[in-house]
């Protein structure tokens, strides 16, 4: 019979820096069961329900990031307080002052945790003064909840919303566990009102939630993880060890990895939220189908791009100050957006490249937008291919650990491209290549297909959902044990 180690059970309840809580931890299953039972038990009273959800979310945060849970609590109190001060202040100058305080404090905390060492490094490179880098750990989700705080106080300042009266709701808005680690970035004005509604899951919500959770997990835990571990990670770490063809395939692989990883997580977050009766708008919409860079940003990480548009681009003047300023604002928005992703020059370059891409996109549309030579299908295809490759090129900077590695990666593709050894390559990586192909096929499925599945699924009995979920678990367990594909380090 089973023999439970109760010490291990207790240890499981505590934060473990080596195994932070994620959706695919075994512990998450217990967490979810306990949560959903409590949530259902307190479904009648939205205040109680919010308290349950907040406590579980804070616990999730604790299991994912340890003592940093204190930061999200302090941050919630601070922004809750200052947003009320902004709201109550009569004079615009006073409102502006409080908003300024909010921006400085929120960005200051983010800056400290995320960018201190980057700037220490910068100072060390350009000055005689030398500082030792600090040992600073990054609290999980800080980039996301900082932006959520900012959008909230800015909305209050702009008079678009009234500050939330209950601190619990605000704390929940910040710490809501499904979107805590990797977003999407939600807006208080969309999120908090839903907390006060009845816990209602329609047929469509149930089916959609299930579809998003299962496909999201497949994308993240099977497709993305498999390609990452068995090809992408090691090619990007040592591009010099791989020829141009290998680097190029790894790049196409990474395009799928980043999409499946990020959108998969978002989908799971959106799906779980659906099952709680909370709707979070889609965060990704087949971005590699885009026919221009600006369309890409309407389909990729939508919650971030719309945040940047509403709170950064528009705050800088948007397109209201002439063509030059519009392009400059666009460029700066993308540059800062790039830097938001991580404290390195590579992210700044990545953002700048997208900024330039958007500028060129606008110029092209202005100059040639109305000229039609080829049939629309053909031009759409050509533009989609160009956009996809531009995005892939930018991914090199996003993924490479430093500028040298990124440049080496490009060098390999340009100067070390060869099909020599292609046979051995395909032989060794056949399953990885198949997985990449599946990733692209999934991506090319028309948006109407999931809608049809969700609609049809609504009528299926519970047993169908149980079987599919068990099928997914079996598939996941298989891939977790899949024999790793080792690099072959082609030489000839």
């Amino acid at each position: 019979m089973i023999n439970i180690d109760w010490n291990s059970v207790l240890n499981q309840l505590l934060y473990d820096a080596h195994a932070p809580l994620l959706f695919n931890n075994g512990f998450f299953v217990y967490f979810l069961v306990a949560f959903i039972l409590c949530y259902y038990l307190f479904r009648k009273n939205y205040k109680h329900r919010a308290v349950v959800l907040t406590l579980f979310s804070l616990y999730f945060f604790y299991k994912a990031s340890g003592a940093f849970v204190g930061i999200v609590i302090i941050s919630a109190f601070f922004n809750y307080g200052i947003s009320n001060l902004i709201f109550k202040a009569k004079k615009k100058g006073v409102k502006g002052f409080f908003l300024f305080c909010s921006v400085v404090v929120n960005l200051g905390v983010l800056f400290y945790f995320k960018y201190t060492n980057f700037f220490i490094d910068l100072i060390n490179n350009f000055s005689v003064l030398k500082f030792d880098p600090l040992h600073i750990l990054l609290p999980i989700g800080i980039s996301f909840f900082t932006f959520e705080n900012l959008s909230y106080t800015i909305d209050v300042y702009r008079g678009e919303i009234e500050p939330e009266k209950g601190i619990v709701n605000y704390l929940l808005f910040l710490s809501f566990f499904p979107k805590l680690v990797m977003g999407p970035i939600v807006r208080a004005k969309d999120f908090i009102p839903q907390l006060k509604k009845e816990y209602f899951v329609s047929d469509s919500d149930f089916s959609r939630g299930f579809y998003l959770i299962v496909t999201g997990l497949i994308k993240k835990l099977i497709i993305s993880d498999y390609i990452s571990v068995n090809l992408v990670n090691y090619v990007f770490d040592g591009p010099n060890l791989h020829n141009g063809m290998e680097c190029l395939v790894a790049l196409y692989g990474y395009a799928i990895v980043i999409y499946c990883d990020f959108s998969g997580y978002s989908d799971v977050a959106i799906g779980i939220s659906k099952w709680m009766g909370i709707t979070i708008p889609p965060n990704f919409m087949s971005p590699y189908q885009s026919k221009s860079v600006s369309e890409f940003w309407r389909r990729w990480h939508i919650s971030l791009s719309s945040w940047l548009r509403d709170y950064l681009y528009i705050s800088m003047g948007g397109n209201r100050k002439g063509k030059f300023r519009t392009n400059l604002n666009l460029f700066l928005t993308m540059l800062i957006g790039g830097f938001w992703h991580g404290a390195s020059w590579n992210f700044i370059i990545w953002g700048a490249l997208h900024g330039i891409g958007l500028g060129l996109n606008k110029l092209w549309t202005t100059l040639f937008g109305k000229i039609k030579i080829l049939p629309t299908v053909v031009t759409n295809f050509i533009f989609a291919v160009i956009t996809f490759h531009f995005v892939c090129f930018c991914w090199i900077f996003f993924k490479a650990s430093n500028l040298d590695t990124a440049l080496q990666f490009i060098h390999q593709i340009v100067y070390q491209f060869t099909f020599d050894g292609a046979y051995e390559y395909v032989e060794n990586y056949k399953f990885v290549i198949i997985m990449i192909a599946i990733g692209y096929l999934i991506h090319l499925i028309p948006d109407s297909f999931p809608e049809k599945v969700i609609e049809r699924q609504k009528r299926f009995p519970l047993v169908y959902y149980v079987i599919v979920m068990m099928g997914f678990i079996a598939l996941y367990s298989f891939f977790k044990s899949a024999e790793p594909v080792m690099p072959i380090y082609l030489q000839f």
Binding site: I2, N3, I4, D5, S8, V9, Q12, G26, F27, V29, Y30, L32, V33, I36, L37, Y40, R43, Y199, F200, V201, S202, D203, D205, F206, G209, F210, V229, N233, Y234, F236, D237, G238, N240, L241, W275, G277, S401, Q408, H411, Y415, Q416, L462, Y465, V466, M469, M470, I473, A474, Y476, S477, F478, K480, S481, E483, P484, M486, P487, Y489, Q491, F492
Partner: protein, 518 residues
């Protein structure tokens, strides 16, 4: 209809099924072994003591097949941070003649010490060796130079310490593809061209007044034609190893043209007139067995001229290409003749055998050190022991089990995510570790020298019990990899004697454009 209850039921039903399967997992796993990855109880059950694992000393498939080992001297292979010579003596250095020359160099004598450093892709792009070279050259006299550089290689673009801009039609032989009859150099390459235009740069930082010699290295053939400063001359190529001084001065560059259709060009060497020269011989994907392709006559010639003082073999990670391999007998059988060939043909040279470094595999979703690594290291140590070659436990010295996983997964990475290769940061760190072991060995020699005791001793390990191996095994070994025709030339020098430290210099002081016969 409100499906909130359906959500709860679905989650509960799936969890209950999964939990039930977990309770009966012992039975269920027989039907679906992958279930162990999703066993909900695996983290909270009382764990039985694992019966798996490979006890370091008792296990060894090789031990069983090759003969039980005397565990006293041999045990020394497990020592970390030091070069071992497999004997109880902890006072004498593992490297002897090499350390004598280092001492001579540190005393300001005009000595050149040359090290050949064999390795696989771990040292590609001069990784690790560039840092060891720098550390050694800084410690012993500040005379700099990159040493050997091939005409071209898969890592030429990546290598920072030297650049060769070679234009012209070049064909190359190498360990994996050989079209010409002439032999390969230590790099595993030979180049042929009618019109090779070479622009060479040694990027190792040196003092502005230091003179470096730039040599063209080539093998046996008809002759080569070299054009330097508009003057074309032919040079004989009647030895297995020839070199031509193509430049000497404070410049770190050399520019010339070479035509060598039938004579193998080995590469270039940029070096100080005295001091330490460390040649990087990386070849991707090999295990060392490939070195059998190097001609015995070349080895003998290099030995007679005292070209190399020390040869390091740093291999191993390519042998662990399957996660569950634990038997490396085949490697013993393949590598032993290679080491014997080198030792027999190069009596004036010392050797040092490295164990493999750490390599990890994904075992059921978790990256862990290869389970066969202890067995491989024991096999490598046995190769060293049986051939009386000093050994360095590279794996233990850099941290042992779990090191590569820790280095690849840390926020500031020291290794790549293939869990094999060190990145520039990790390469620097391991170079420091290796350098420290070399200096520790040197300090032992220095102590003996100060105490007026001899550094070079007679062989302390007389006939080793391990050499009395089953006859059958020997037969197999010979079948697999006996050198074909090359027999070692009569050895006129005594291996155990101190080698003169001067002849090399007299050879090197030749005039430009004169073939340097060794």
């Amino acid at each position: 209809m409100n499906n909130s209850r359906k959500v709860v039921i679905l989650i509960l039903v799936v969890t209950i099924i999964q939990l039930s399967l977990s309770v009966f997992s012992n039975q269920f796993i027989a039907y679906y072994p992958y279930f162990k990855n999703v066993n909900l109880l695996s983290d909270i059950l009382v764990k039985e003591k694992s019966k798996k694992g490979f006890p370091k000393k008792k296990h060894s498939s090789t031990a069983n097949s090759i003969g039980d080992l005397p565990m006293n001297d041999f045990d020394a292979y497990e020592k970390k941070g030091t070069l071992v010579r497999f004997n109880a003596d902890t006072v004498s250095p593992a490297l002897q003649k090499f350390n004598e020359k280092l001492i001579a160099l540190s005393e300001g004598k005009n000595v050149k010490i040359r090290i050949a450093w064999f390795g696989d892709s771990q040292i590609e792009g001069d990784f690790i060796t560039q840092d060891i070279r720098e550390l050694l050259q800084n410690y012993f006299g500040q005379q700099k130079g990159v040493g050997y550089v091939p005409i071209t290689s898969v890592s030429s673009d990546f290598r920072k310490t030297a650049k060769v801009f070679a234009t012209g039609d070049v064909s190359a032989d190498n360990f994996k593809k050989q079209d010409h009859n002439a032999g390969l150099f230590f790099s595993g390459y030979s180049f042929y061209s009618n019109n090779l235009d070479i622009d060479f740069r040694d990027n190792v930082k040196k003092g502005s007044t230091q003179i470096t010699q730039k040599w063209l290295l080539y093998g046996k053939g008809d002759s080569i034609s070299v054009k330097i400063n508009d003057s074309v001359r032919k040079y004989p190529a009647n030895k297995e190893f020839n070199r031509l001084l193509v430049g000497s001065g404070v410049s770190n560059k050399a520019k010339f043209m070479v035509s060598s259709k039938h004579t193998p060009i080995f590469g270039l060497s940029s070096e100080p007139s005295s001091g330490i020269v460390l040649d990087n011989f990386s070849f991707r994907g090999i295990s060392g067995v490939e070195l059998k392709k190097i001609n015995s006559n070349l080895l003998a010639e290099l030995s007679q001229s005292g070209y190399y003082d020390l040869i390091v073999f740093q291999y191993g990670v390519n042998l662990m290409f399957k996660p569950n391999d634990t038997n490396y007998d085949y490697y013993y059988r393949g590598m032993r003749p290679v080491l014997q060939k080198f030792k027999n043909n190069m009596p004036n040279t010392e050797f040092l055998l490295f164990s493999c470094s750490d390599r990890a595999f994904n075992y059921d979703g978790t990256w862990k050190t290869a389970i066969g690594i202890d067995s491989l290291i024991q096999t490598q140590a046995r190769l060293a022991y049986d051939n009386d070659i000093p050994f360095y436990n590279f794996y233990k010295s850099i941290g042992g089990n779990g090191t590569i996983v820790k280095w690849a997964d840390s926020t500031v990475q020291y290794a790549n995510k293939d869990y094999i290769h060190f990145n520039f940061r990790g390469a620097k760190a391991v170079a420091k570790t290796i350098y420290t072991a070399i200096i520790n060995d040197y300090n032992k020699a220095l102590k003996l020298k100060k105490a007026n005791k001899p550094i070079v001793t007679q062989k302390t390990v007389a006939p080793k019990p391990m050499e009395a191996k089953p006859v059958v095994k020997e037969t197999i070994t010979k079948k697999i990899d006996t050198p074909k025709t090359d027999k070692p030339k009569p050895d006129t020098s005594k291996p155990s004697e101190v080698k003169s430290t001067t002849p090399k210099e007299t050879i090197q002081k030749t005039t430009v454009k004169k073939a340097d016969s060794l």
